[in-house]
């Protein structure tokens, strides 16, 4: 598929040192459109839509905030810690700016954990971008579904 000028601009913004120190792509050198397309297929195979995934991620972000900076148990099955750091992050697609809020969600029964930021939530919902594979902030669609549902 074709890389639009918007995708080309976003991919440039994702390089290390542009918006964040580590960037958003890690060692993934594929065109952004290929990364997104593959992850769209992977999420579809896992049986959830982007809206369902977004609502679930947002649910834990909202409930985790009730812990006032400490981990909190949600629905007796998940432990959620929402923490905030100073500063803000610009979306590499240049359509928003987000506080540095991280949610760490752990499924108590399996002890599997996943961490995502408010920006990651936006990137997945609006741009279907789970970040480069592999990269430090990469979120695998199957892992998100396995832990959050």
């Amino acid at each position: 598929m074709k890389m639009t000028p918007e995708l080309q601009m976003a991919q440039e913004n994702m390089l290390p040192g542009k918006i964040s120190g580590q960037g958003f792509l890690g060692d993934d050198h594929r065109p952004l459109i290929d990364i997104i397309t593959e992850d769209e297929e992977r999420l579809a195979k896992s049986g959830k839509s982007f809206d369902e995934l977004f609502q679930r991620m947002e649910y834990f972000m909202i409930h985790g905030r009730k812990g006032l900076g400490e981990p909190i148990v949600v629905d007796n099955e998940w432990e959620v810690w929402v923490d905030e750091a100073r500063g803000k992050m610009v979306c590499p697609f240049q359509d928003g700016i987000y506080a540095k809020i991280n949610a760490r969600v752990c499924k108590i029964s399996t002890k599997d954990c996943i961490t995502y930021s408010e920006l990651a939530l936006h990137l997945i919902h609006k741009h279907h971008f789970f970040q480069g594979n592999p990269s430090s902030y990469r979120l695998n669609p199957e892992e998100l579904v396995r832990i959050l549902f």
């Binding site: 918006i19 890690g26 006032l68 400490e70 905030e84 750091a85 100073r86 500063g87 803000k88 610009v90």
Partner: protein
Amino acid sequence: MSIWIAPLVVGGIGAVLALTIAIIDAIVNNYGEVEIDINQGKKKLQAKGGASLLSTLSEHGMFIPSACGGRGSCGACKIGVLSDIGPILPTEYPLLSPQERQDGIRLSCQIKLKASIEIQIPEELFIARPYLGVIDSLKDVTHDIKEVRIALEKPDSIEYQAGQYVQLVIPPYRKIPESTQRAYSMSSTPSQPNTVELLIRKVPNGIATTYVHELLKEGQSIELIGPFGDFYVRDNEADMICVAGGSGMAPIKSILMDLFEKGEQTRHIWYFFGARSKRDLFYLDLFSSLEERWPIFHFIPALSDPLPEDEWKDETGLITDVLDEYLRNRVDPEHTKEGYLCGSPGMVNACVQVMKKNGIPEDRIYYDKFA
């Protein structure tokens, strides 16, 4: 011989073009010498134009806090601009509130110095400067918080007010290509100016906290810049209601130990420290001992979710609930009170509401939302 002609001609044209561009660049982008007037003449700097205001100030020993290295993403380097320097840039707009836009607040990293400029900055920034130190000790105070003690070397002492913070400079590491700065409150006291103590909680995937928790070693050199911040004790007789959680302990510890050292005896000081379970509590012995030696000091640790093995017999519940109960029933209602808060924004916001509900005016609640 003829095969050299074409490359020589192309090379010659390229060289002429490069020279032309360099000359035009030097003419067009040569802004000459500019004057930076700080706080209506309190300080004046002569600088070469063309670079960002943030970097120019830094080259002249004036350090404005910045967490993103001038990329325009953290919004920390705000200053007041009194001169007309043109409209707010799209990169600045989202990081400024409507009131700030109206008040002439700008991001110093986004201002290119093209002409002389008048700016307004907090006076405290006049004394902020870089320090080089050595990691004196690294200690795990909980499973996810490290106490980092830095012995200062160049210069070897720092002057600050208890409650202020420094910017720790994290060097490039692993795949992080450039240095990063992060703000941390000092937990040490101003009476020990040769040492800076920080409490740093590990944030999953955090650039600075990963470095501190996984790579930083005793004996290693480290750079910091400071002091910064307006979170410090107001000098009056109001009772102090202090609330902290996690590494929010840092500035409160500094403030309390400083007041104790100075012999404060008139105002009652209540310190509410919230944690989830016993493994998240620290410095219990320090504050219990302080409570015994200092009659005006009251220490209330509270656990929101104690484990059975904690055998916890003290306050239980969210720190906001414990605070509310004490303000309604145990803290003297006749005394004027002030709030001092440090922790996550969620905790600080919730505590501000509880304090306001219990009669503490909002303008007497001071906080640092980021420990």
